[in-house]
Assembly symmetry: D2
Homo-oligomer: 345 residues x 4
Amino acid sequence: MEEGAPESQIEKVMAHLLEKGIKVHRSDGTTRTVLGVIGDASSLDKGLIETFDGVFEVVKVSEPFKLTNRKYKPEGTVVQIDDVRIGGDEVVVMAGPCSAENEQQVYSSAAAVKRAGAKILRGGAFKPRSSPYSFQGLGEAGLRLLRTAANEHNLKLVSEVMDISQIELVEKYVDILQVGARNMQNYTLLRELGRARKPVLLKRGISATIEEWLLSAEYVLAGGNRNVILCERGIRTFESYLRNTLDISAIPVVKKLSHLPIIADPSHGTGRRDKVAPMARAAVAAGADGLLIEVHCDPDKALSDGAQSLFPSQFDQLMAELRTIAPAIGRSICVEPVARRGWAR
Amino acid sequence: MEEGAPESQIEKVMAHLLEKGIKVHRSDGTTRTVLGVIGDASSLDKGLIETFDGVFEVVKVSEPFKLTNRKYKPEGTVVQIDDVRIGGDEVVVMAGPCSAENEQQVYSSAAAVKRAGAKILRGGAFKPRSSPYSFQGLGEAGLRLLRTAANEHNLKLVSEVMDISQIELVEKYVDILQVGARNMQNYTLLRELGRARKPVLLKRGISATIEEWLLSAEYVLAGGNRNVILCERGIRTFESYLRNTLDISAIPVVKKLSHLPIIADPSHGTGRRDKVAPMARAAVAAGADGLLIEVHCDPDKALSDGAQSLFPSQFDQLMAELRTIAPAIGRSICVEPVARRGWAR
Amino acid sequence: MEEGAPESQIEKVMAHLLEKGIKVHRSDGTTRTVLGVIGDASSLDKGLIETFDGVFEVVKVSEPFKLTNRKYKPEGTVVQIDDVRIGGDEVVVMAGPCSAENEQQVYSSAAAVKRAGAKILRGGAFKPRSSPYSFQGLGEAGLRLLRTAANEHNLKLVSEVMDISQIELVEKYVDILQVGARNMQNYTLLRELGRARKPVLLKRGISATIEEWLLSAEYVLAGGNRNVILCERGIRTFESYLRNTLDISAIPVVKKLSHLPIIADPSHGTGRRDKVAPMARAAVAAGADGLLIEVHCDPDKALSDGAQSLFPSQFDQLMAELRTIAPAIGRSICVEPVARRGWAR
Amino acid sequence: MEEGAPESQIEKVMAHLLEKGIKVHRSDGTTRTVLGVIGDASSLDKGLIETFDGVFEVVKVSEPFKLTNRKYKPEGTVVQIDDVRIGGDEVVVMAGPCSAENEQQVYSSAAAVKRAGAKILRGGAFKPRSSPYSFQGLGEAGLRLLRTAANEHNLKLVSEVMDISQIELVEKYVDILQVGARNMQNYTLLRELGRARKPVLLKRGISATIEEWLLSAEYVLAGGNRNVILCERGIRTFESYLRNTLDISAIPVVKKLSHLPIIADPSHGTGRRDKVAPMARAAVAAGADGLLIEVHCDPDKALSDGAQSLFPSQFDQLMAELRTIAPAIGRSICVEPVARRGWAR
């Protein structure tokens, strides 16, 4: 309460709390009274109580997310898909083209990322585009191409689902269902994914606080799906030289607040090919459990996001750099796959 | 191109453009060559071309939105629902509770806003909430209450639709379909609303640029629905004293760029009851075509957004102030309704 | 403290507080212990205590600014210069060119703003420019021109001081010493202005929170100079259509937190001439005590800020609009001066 | 120009340019005319020309900074102080307490950072504090302590200068003059530092764009001092979990745009001790030329910034991690100094 708040104002607040079924612990100091709320405060509206006369401030003393909280599960979640473990000792790299465009492009991109050591193929079939006049993706045909290419190279597959109407279809093809940044607060979608049987990769909204992001993950966990991977992909700030500002510090922050694995997407996080490698290295050095990187067999011809897609040779070099960095923080990165030996580059 | 870019680099860019079917106009200056693109550039990827060697910068010389552009329709759109005209001389006020909670609350709130001069009743039945543990709305029962109350007081009705699966239901009850800030880039939803027969009120995303906002409107217009009302509702900035920063300057900016009407929501834009009136007055003074304001018959008991809901008497006073301001910019605001005379307050 | 924090952790925090000479009030709840600090906590480091084991959060329950606080002086400060009162019933308009350029420009701009009803002439002699290659102002010669023009038209004068070395000089010529946005946290300068005999107009830094702004004002007040006028001039956000986002909501927020008068600068707040009038109207409608507006006799020839300077005829029209708006909130704006009658325009 | 802009509008713009002494290259397309400016455009006001009728947009096709530009000096600047080279192969670490507090604290902190491999001692004697009631530094006494400690351990010294009046004094004691974030646009100070004989460490302003930052460096270089080290120290964004968002991506961006060395300050960039190590590793992985880190012999007793100061043992471990990361990008980090062997920890 404010200094010198009269008894009538204190009583009005206490009455409001009691009416909501909340026990109150009153503590009268020399200049100020503090009212402590005991038990479940989820029915209270912090902002509303702050409008009451005599209230100085309402302070939450526990995080609003529960199942997502590291306190709930201190040891950390490992999302496992067969032998690929996200959140374990190994840093897992997901790579591939922005969108599936055609057979040749999907197949050669998949071959390239496998060869360099990626474990999971990424690629879009349904694309959220800010303009209605841009390429919107191949739909199911794209999913089919991606699945075939992933199978051929023993890769897992992650692809985006934009709407509840697409879940059933996308789930048939992929190993991980991706929720894009623009849908991070599409609660209908999140609630439905809580019932899905596949893990969910949840990108951070472009202006979402870390708390809001974890609350969105909470929707999925509360629905029964405990396999959520968080993905930092850049936030919007005043700095406009790059498309977004990849918030590397979100990695150690999330690691402390939540038990869920967190990866980074330096491709969308920067929007520029020559900035992808430095930011990928930074993310791993900061403790990321994995990376999501756009690699295209011929970026200059890409139908979307060509500017931020790596050439296969750039991706090879990046993977080599990451293998040096990972041990600095007690992590490993996929050793070079056996298959590679026999291949000509 | 960069200063001194060699001919081979210039030719590579020209070849790329020609391959995309684009005519190029080359202009060689003393220090620098400029390549002008003629015709439809929507298939070009600005960022990609900037990665080409020797390219200094790619500049768009036309806005990416078309149907939404004021150049396309200089006279300005008026969205008309019977005798209510949004975008005309009159400033139209939409008011009511955040969510429909029960019969008594909806009816008395509707009576209060009508009495003060509102033309449209607002109220939510499906609520997007950042926590899965918060009140999520009454659903169809809420829509039924709102419609009944609106009819009784000769008010039009606006309510939110969160997902394509809700469109058919919500459209049966309301006069205006509201798209919330979190769904501003839910393209599946926008595309479907392009086929709706009712006007759409499109809120600005919390971190959407004005260009992105107009591109989202473009999705609806391109689908065939030309009745879109834009609503500024606060953006996210570093300043955290209030929940959001209501971007009043967006009003004159949108007025210049687009022919669509624009209103402001000072309730969500501030999150605090005592800041609603100053910001509502500011929005009208800056040229807004209308306002969306939360008014609750008993804000201290509201299930959501009580902190930002006006008491009916505060709303009365605000409407009186607005009637003084509107003429300063050649607008009017609803004269006091005849019905009021006989009512006791 | 965290839930379940052991006694040893609680005691370590209490020991730290006692060592700083702070009395502690301990309150043990069923799940959590709260330690209340009594008395002057200005020697405590909130962030440091949060690093102690077992500490959940440290919450300040009073604002860090004191002399600036409305609680300290509930009635509101009026800064008075002869018969001009800033913070009273009248909305005071300060107008003139960005920089003093030459005699003709200063004199005719001063005549134009006086004619339209401005009370104070603005104009820069020392200009902070982001590039070392831009026009940096006329220095003392500029101040002399401005003072002469102000005297001739019975206007007060406000001009910027960039550094402590300029204070003595600038103070000889002006009635109000302006601190620019870039210098809002130049504490050496603020401390020195605390000893000045002239009022200080303190612009908000481009990314300063309202709390930081009031703390900067506190430096001046703590030095003994109680005549501070705050000026909102736009903050930096992700939206880049205009140069800045004029934070109109800062006006009612500051009015509540502090007793100091607050004015708005829609010229720097927008950077575009055609947006100045809507935002000036909005600021007055939101409760601003005054405006700072760039008016130039020939903006197309201005050496700086021509893009945001009004033509005299635009300023005349704006003043007429403001005279209609002010009464809506119980304010007046200067009546047309007698002198005008005899003048040809 | 706009599509269809009439000849009269085009001519008005051309006349304006010619009046400014600028040569114009006119190019008439099928739908649009482009006017190209040839030569030095620094006297032009982009915003002003955009207000002219018929002008669509004014685009700068060269960066506004010159001496700072990598194009001006492609090979990269190495700032050398005796045998310490900033901008070379080695990653240089500057470490020490936030402020000099007393002899014991300065000496033992200096010993600790030297032992772990730092080359430069940091420490403040003049502190910019947002509140006038906080500890403001020891002044010259602090500088004397820092210099003595640096000499004893064969460390170089960096310390902040807040105002032109302090330059002469600070320059007597330090090897590098630091300009704090709040002073990044204090042009009087920058201009004077252009005449200093010691290198300048220029921190990025909390909301400065990269272009503005480089323009501030330009002030120093234009004054004749070519030894500028840039320091990224966190920007202000909507995310408030940490005090700032350390913009790691600024490192590769600056590396491309400018030849000046760039270091990172993860202490101010995060404000939290447990986030310093991950972000320090990230900065090195992204290509930083050095680090500025707060280390205190007893952080819990620090008079300022204790929350973000590392314990000496944490700094030891961080240095070991950095030695693993640096080679991944072809850099080294100081080998463990001989002196260490004989020391007990």
